[in-house]
Symmetry: C2
Subunit: 164 residues, 2 copies
DNA sequence: GAACACAATGCAAATGGTTTGCAATCCGAA
DNA sequence: TTCGGATTGCAAACCATTTGCATTGTGTTC
């Protein structure tokens, strides 16, 4: 399989949702269908790989819009669950097109040197580190697992302090 | 159990390492034992809870040192595996005293509203979300799991681009 | 115990990702 | 076609974190 850039082929099934369907999703949600919005979704559809705001901005090419617009849209799309945000701990947010429901649920194996990303189809814990390391030719494999949710004290509140 | 501030009692065993032992660890590693260093470790020992650089800086009180020094020391201590860094995805690093080996290995359940943190003794994947939610009175529980390591292409290199 | 080498600190400025205020523009409902 | 609110571009602001540099402190050597 030919990939768009310097990353290994995906191990999970690609999300095939056509652009039309994506814009439909926008329409149904009372969001406006703007050129930047469509262009950003198209970029994410082309590169199904975690991309930073900057990378997306660059990939827009002649469809270019302001970087701030990219940021704003990704936030919006994240809120709508149309994209998923990933955090590799280097202070830069990365986004991917999200599948419907569980379809897109997956995790990543990230090289701490070059940021190369391998997508994992599994969803599993610590004992798998060794196996994952061997299967993908990585060494010194560690992982990070956090759970998020709304605690009983906060139920009903509407402001969010985390995940700004 | 009385806790230092506004968070629930810990579910895991606290790390009891006395300060002397911690400074010994510094000595053995050819690091200098400085007042800021000791003060920071002492703060982490007192609050065994993920703390941000700023929070640690504040908690130093009369032992105050420059905020930049806090940042530098936490990085150093992280490199020595004396503290563990956690990333809750809000763009702020948090640190905890690390136990030796697996002793301190654990994950967190974070309230996305108030940032309240519950420590989990388990190390487990998705199917646990429901159970965790129930046990700790959280709702809308999701999780984030990423693996990190060094890929075969990077073996031998020494610069690190991720985890800056 | 004094001298030295280098690690560590304080301070201030820089960095870099991300957000925001505001006026201009655009989308889509009526 | 009109109109109001959503969206955009631009520039400035923000904020966590890092860095340059002169100064200070620790631990080692003699």
């Amino acid at each position: 399989m030919k990939t768009c850039c310097d990353h290994p082929p995906h191990s999970r099934r690609l999300i095939q949702t056509p652009l039309v369907e994506l814009t439909d999703q926008l329409r149904r949600s009372a969001r406006k269908i703007t050129a930047p919005r469509q262009a950003i979704l198209e970029v994410l559809r082309r590169h199904q790989h975690p991309l930073t705001n900057k990378e997306i901005h660059l990939a827009l090419g002649k469809e270019e819009c302001d970087l701030a617009t990219v940021y704003r849209n990704l936030r919006t799309l994240e809120g709508m669950r149309m994209v998923a945000r990933f955090d590799f701990g280097d202070g830069v947010a990365r986004y991917e097109l999200a599948g419907a429901g569980d379809e897109g649920h997956h995790h990543h194996l990230v090289c701490t040197h070059c940021t190369r990303v391998v997508e994992l189809t599994e969803c599993l814990p610590r004992q798998m580190e060794q196996e994952i390391a061997e299967r993908h030719g990585f060494s010194q494999v560690t992982h990070r697992l956090e759970f998020f949710g709304v605690c009983n004290r906060c139920r009903g509140s509407h402001t969010t302090s985390l995940v700004k």
